[in-house]
Symmetry: C2
Amino acid sequence: MINQSVTNESAANESIEPQNQVTTAVDQVFVELRRAIVEGDVAQGSKISEPELAKRYGVSRATLRDALNRLEACNLVERKANVGCRVVALTPERLIEVYQVRASLEGLACRLAAENMTDEEIANIKALLNKHLNEQRVKEGESYYQEAGDLDFHYRIIKGSKNEHLFNLLIHDLYQLIRMYRVQMGMTGPRVSKAFDEHLAIINAIENRDGELAEMLMKRHIGYSMNNIENKFNAAQ
Amino acid sequence: MINQSVTNESAANESIEPQNQVTTAVDQVFVELRRAIVEGDVAQGSKISEPELAKRYGVSRATLRDALNRLEACNLVERKANVGCRVVALTPERLIEVYQVRASLEGLACRLAAENMTDEEIANIKALLNKHLNEQRVKEGESYYQEAGDLDFHYRIIKGSKNEHLFNLLIHDLYQLIRMYRVQMGMTGPRVSKAFDEHLAIINAIENRDGELAEMLMKRHIGYSMNNIENKFNAAQ
DNA sequence: GGTGCCAAGATTGTCGACAATTTGAGAAAG
DNA sequence: CTTTCTCAAATTGTCGACAATCTTGGCACC
């Protein structure tokens, strides 16, 4: 029972950084380029020049090419044969598409979590929420909770589904794109307290082993989140 | 209005062969290797030797490596840094995981299809089912319907959702793995007529624009299909 | 003046060779 | 006889160069 407290620590790092250990050069370029795209350092829709980026990151073109392949698998860049590679464009239509898929999959994750999570895992999430609640009261207005805390909550639910395929699909392939929308839309909004209540309702449903309710609550929660981003989109025009 | 009949032709080829046009060498190797894996020409769980396969397909190792990357994105091979590449192992646990995801996503597709499909598209699917019904009566017992017909039906529903992200996720990433299970488990069973009735009920719900019912029916339909494969698995031991 | 074709430049696709890492067998020590 | 260390063979990761394809600017022709 050494290091018991480790289960209470943040898991968001792993969710933001899926690679368990970044060893190879392709990994490094992939992770760094992904960060740059998600955080907007390289503009959405812009074309990517292989020789230029290879030079900037100090690797061969073949290596960078490999990294681009992985980014394509994450839906962060789009490729055409003999033409090139562009960063994806963030359109409202695509936002809706992605969030429809996300709501469906995380709804499933929630239902499975209600069946498969251990009592200890559930207790840890509740403790996490209480911790976030306190921190939120202290630093009201700052975006701490929204970013790390929200990621952490969803990450644990998805992991709690005990469905590895679902986990990979959401964490590796979908979440970077979702993060890209949130970051570039400046999602530091006042949805904090409301989202907190929704999280609480979800974990309560899971604790009661009510998978059906948990699924529905999660779908709604994600739907609200989508509307929030969509409004920002429309306001930005 | 030329070539109107083209909408009634089979769309399964496209679903089996997602690449619109296979031009580059990497594409060719990717498609051929994928076929070999799905159809069991290379055994599940077996290790893949890069130099050997590169020589067999007459391409460079870098090219084959690129193809392996894409196979990894389809979840058909698994990779570890500095260790190598193995074909995925078909376990009952993974079957359940994949089918849980599939049921959720195709349920979503069905709901969206009920909202977004045109009357003409719906009519075309109904015509398709009738065509399959006739052919099924003639060649009873053969596996035609199960393979091509079933793929065709699901393909059109997914496309009818008008959600491109969902389409790519299902057709590119998930369906090859599903096909792998079905082919290697020898899925030519007697589920034909029952599946036909289920398909009919689904398209009727879509025609009535009852998305909720269509989603539920599709989830059940896929659940039955999973049980069918799962039984084969247990019987094979 | 507008349209279509051609060539030069640039970009992507492919290759063979070299460097780094893992793995397995064999020898030496316990 | 078992265990551990070492080293070599094999496999994977990375690189720079060459070939094929697309783009673009200009010129000829209508």
